[in-house]
Symmetry: D2
Subunit: 347 residues, 4 copies
Amino acid sequence: MDKIKAGIIGATGYAGQELVRILLGHPMCELVSVCSRSYAGKPYSEVYSNYSHLDYICEEDDIEALADKCDVIFLALPHGVTSQRVNEGILSKCKIIDLGADFRLQDVEVYESWYTEHHSKDILKEAVYGLCELNRDKIKGKRIIGNPGCYTTCSILSLYPLVKEGLIDNKSIIIDAKSGATGAGRGLSLGNHYCELNESVKAYKVANHRHTPEIEEQLSYAAGEKIVLSFTPHLMPMDRGILATCYATVKEGVTYEDMEKAYKKYYENEYFIRLCAKGSFPETKWVKGSNFVDIGFTVDERTKRAIVIGAIDNLYKGAAGQAVQNMNILFDIDERTGINAVPIFPA
Amino acid sequence: MDKIKAGIIGATGYAGQELVRILLGHPMCELVSVCSRSYAGKPYSEVYSNYSHLDYICEEDDIEALADKCDVIFLALPHGVTSQRVNEGILSKCKIIDLGADFRLQDVEVYESWYTEHHSKDILKEAVYGLCELNRDKIKGKRIIGNPGCYTTCSILSLYPLVKEGLIDNKSIIIDAKSGATGAGRGLSLGNHYCELNESVKAYKVANHRHTPEIEEQLSYAAGEKIVLSFTPHLMPMDRGILATCYATVKEGVTYEDMEKAYKKYYENEYFIRLCAKGSFPETKWVKGSNFVDIGFTVDERTKRAIVIGAIDNLYKGAAGQAVQNMNILFDIDERTGINAVPIFPA
Amino acid sequence: MDKIKAGIIGATGYAGQELVRILLGHPMCELVSVCSRSYAGKPYSEVYSNYSHLDYICEEDDIEALADKCDVIFLALPHGVTSQRVNEGILSKCKIIDLGADFRLQDVEVYESWYTEHHSKDILKEAVYGLCELNRDKIKGKRIIGNPGCYTTCSILSLYPLVKEGLIDNKSIIIDAKSGATGAGRGLSLGNHYCELNESVKAYKVANHRHTPEIEEQLSYAAGEKIVLSFTPHLMPMDRGILATCYATVKEGVTYEDMEKAYKKYYENEYFIRLCAKGSFPETKWVKGSNFVDIGFTVDERTKRAIVIGAIDNLYKGAAGQAVQNMNILFDIDERTGINAVPIFPA
Amino acid sequence: MDKIKAGIIGATGYAGQELVRILLGHPMCELVSVCSRSYAGKPYSEVYSNYSHLDYICEEDDIEALADKCDVIFLALPHGVTSQRVNEGILSKCKIIDLGADFRLQDVEVYESWYTEHHSKDILKEAVYGLCELNRDKIKGKRIIGNPGCYTTCSILSLYPLVKEGLIDNKSIIIDAKSGATGAGRGLSLGNHYCELNESVKAYKVANHRHTPEIEEQLSYAAGEKIVLSFTPHLMPMDRGILATCYATVKEGVTYEDMEKAYKKYYENEYFIRLCAKGSFPETKWVKGSNFVDIGFTVDERTKRAIVIGAIDNLYKGAAGQAVQNMNILFDIDERTGINAVPIFPA
């Protein structure tokens, strides 16, 4: 089989760079083009010195030209931009995997109330939400994938079996999430200045983070009813990793064994989902640099609440790794190809 | 006025050391004796080199001898130990401020179900829970104080006004807490080995942390009814600080303004409690090295949940600082004496 | 005695803020004015939330107005700026302590070759280099002090006794220094973006850091001959602290005991200098949040080199703390007043 | 070609674990056996949860049994142990790559003066020092390799061209090295307790670190004369990475261009050595999780000193990665196989 020809637009953000790194190690993919408007013409290794043994040059992000030479284009751009770039002509030539927010929410109204005007409403209709473990079958054969957000990947996968199996009160869901600083990107801000972020923890965007509707939409599909939930992200003094601590009241009589059965039903054969043993819970370090999702759960008998904790690497399974997993599904190769690394530790 | 003569038993743990540091800067207190069974006879500066300009020697922790020469003894010992050491004879000679767990819970049964056998049940009856802002009047004149735990100080103060004023559904309380590694003490363990804790986040003691009943007991007093709640502690890759993110469903019609009124009612004149402006939330860095408690709150109109976030320095307001605050109250001097430092930043 | 009235120009940088913090705890000083051109009119607590219990408002940095109401003005401004602001009129009204570089180097030519044009050459002549332990007597009674740099304070104090006593080959001095990120200030840059600095170490300004001539000038005074040396700063993934590892070939026959004698001769009675026991060396954590300088030294018999290691808190003894120490000397009060804190640990 | 069958003795230390991780991703190697005396019988994933998707069980470290089923055995054991285990019988069956210190130093007397008694002096004679870039030709065909230490790999490669080409005064070499905490291993100690190591920097084993004679022996070979040098290791608050800042007086007239020529002569075609552009210097983050060595250099014209800075990942090129590089050379496959990862960033 010929190698899949891939291009990346927005290759100089943290997620874009992680994608470059993963694709360079992918045995069935050729990275054809690394694009960045801001750095066009500059060696990629000037932007990221970990690539100083390689010769990639940042190119202008001409999506039309890219579509002619690529089988798949990954976009890692600010929301509202991708939906202006993608069109039928491009989709007729190559697959699109969007790491941004524009093709994640199916409900345009919800998108526009949390983000901005959507410029490709027709295309949105055919886009699939690329949460691979849940939507694998829908992804196959599609032309455009909305790659899930980092918090959402972790949160949805953590709660899906409970919601799908009707084990919890859907009105009682609270997600308290913790993320490393790569989630905030490479753009300079006082909040991400070393001495301001180091040795401290804070919540941010309390009650209004844009990943909320994405989690709600997907869990609502699973529940068969509209779910509204609380989502609070926190910033941790570390580079990578998301931990989502999820709370929900269990329905009368639901036991740990019921939960375990549900998690096994959906995830037992999922390579990238690792369920913790009873009494164990995940730590972000055990998934760092990998596509794994670790999930631990219990029922607190005192409060009748399920507590489910999920952990991912936000740049890997939460962005670039899952994007490649989507590519693997789209091109019908082993889903694990190129993203099968054991987590790196200590790191 | 003569200086208050103070002794510390258990001076070589992190909380004990913070107490030494604070008392050395206290203008109305003389640190008479620094005791440590493990290091008896050794210079304190060999245990903690930040004291290398001083001449303290660790002494045997002979509480009887200490009671003869001190006005107040601070104990920072493992639970179950203090309750075996304190007796009427000692209490007749000097004040006791216990930084451990033995005199925090009023309900002996609850204590014994979460900890171990209690050896001073009679003395427990006269002990006061030293959460200064709430129990100031009860503390005055007492002989023995149970100094609150770190998580509990932060959690109770964050939720008290809402519970006391009846603004929330008391069955809906969830506290998701994050702590720096000093909370785990100086004892060696793999989980606190640098490379194992660094760059990672995890929950621990999920659904069974011993600070849970302490929070429940105090909030139950405030509510006038028994409260059972969820409390999940997390370990952060940083030295100091606790952030408690608290969730509770508000009663029908409760607004942000109602909440604000409640917080101002109880805290407006509290020097050590700083309420965040609307839309702002605390960060642990802003209270580091200080006795301050920063609290921010909102109502999420989508979910009808109150979200309250509190931040403290776990070693200061969460341990040694509050212990000194208790001493100040007991000896009827300005409550802020010696613990009035502006938080240190960046640090 | 009336309190010393102090004003700060450039109060919103990290060094300026540390100065605010220290002066607020100084029992014999009143902080009259906190100035910042960038934030004029804003509450200081909006710039630094650790001050949210206080009411300071950032003022325009009008040095003339300040001179009328202050006994001392601290300036924490970029180099080249202070030398344009200070003049005879101001000096006739109040003392000036400059935390910047403009009044540190006595040799104008050296200053201009490493920095920029100097605008107060006459005033420079009366300025004293405020390295308190070495220049205490010269500082007394002066009108203007050039407060030393952070690297320089640590480096000069580490090497001074060896140079002064002629124990080393002055041509062989190499200083390999390591600093926390506060040394780079609060200005945004990619190099100080959290994820870029965290978990990494690098050298910077190799062979051309501006603290080099400052160290050379002072050590040359001590040596009575011109010293040229190597100075290499490194950036550490931590907030505070400088460690200077100094190497120099000892003169024939020089032993550890000779070195010890020299260090004791100059430092035994210096409160803020703590000499490590034989075989011990400093760590930055033991001086954090304090004005102490810890110094350890040895002779490597294999290479006949002296190795001297000094540690300071770069914002405290390396900037604001020493500035206050200079103020104490200028106003003839106990040098330790207000800067006598035990180092904070763990933090 | 059949896959190389590999076993690891001492697989549960940090270097052993990194080796497991790398070998699992090596396309031409089969990891046959993972041995650990302390954890024999336990799932490897209980020791390191990043392996929770795999089924390796720790085995007894029976080197005789291992020799029968393996083509190569890696040993990651404390010094003095390996030299007691290896014997002619084992060497007749399989290759040995020792990550410990026992087969690094050729001079037994030096070994015994820095370490302990050597138990395999005969075997030591045939052992090759596995610094691949310098000893590639000697490694081929050998039976036993002493895999270099982490500090030594970085230090020797940084200085080799200057020494070999005679550009510096060999008596003037000073190496000031900085390492992340993984270098200290997984064994518990107060110095590696999170809160003790975090946010601080210190030197350790000043003038007596055991990597000193290893660097000296190799550089002496290059120089053709005995070299004695200064080596000072420092512990950084980070997980991985070594930065070696090397100083040496250049011989009269030696310029940057001379140095550049020397570095290019030896390293231009070395895949894993990346020379920094003029004026640039390495940072440990750019080599993390990779086998690369980044080297930058300059001449300080003021002091006539060469400053050379090298960076490696101590667990990768400094231990497990180089061990695999040695395996690749021994088995005559492309040296880069399985260790060709782009450095992971940010991490």
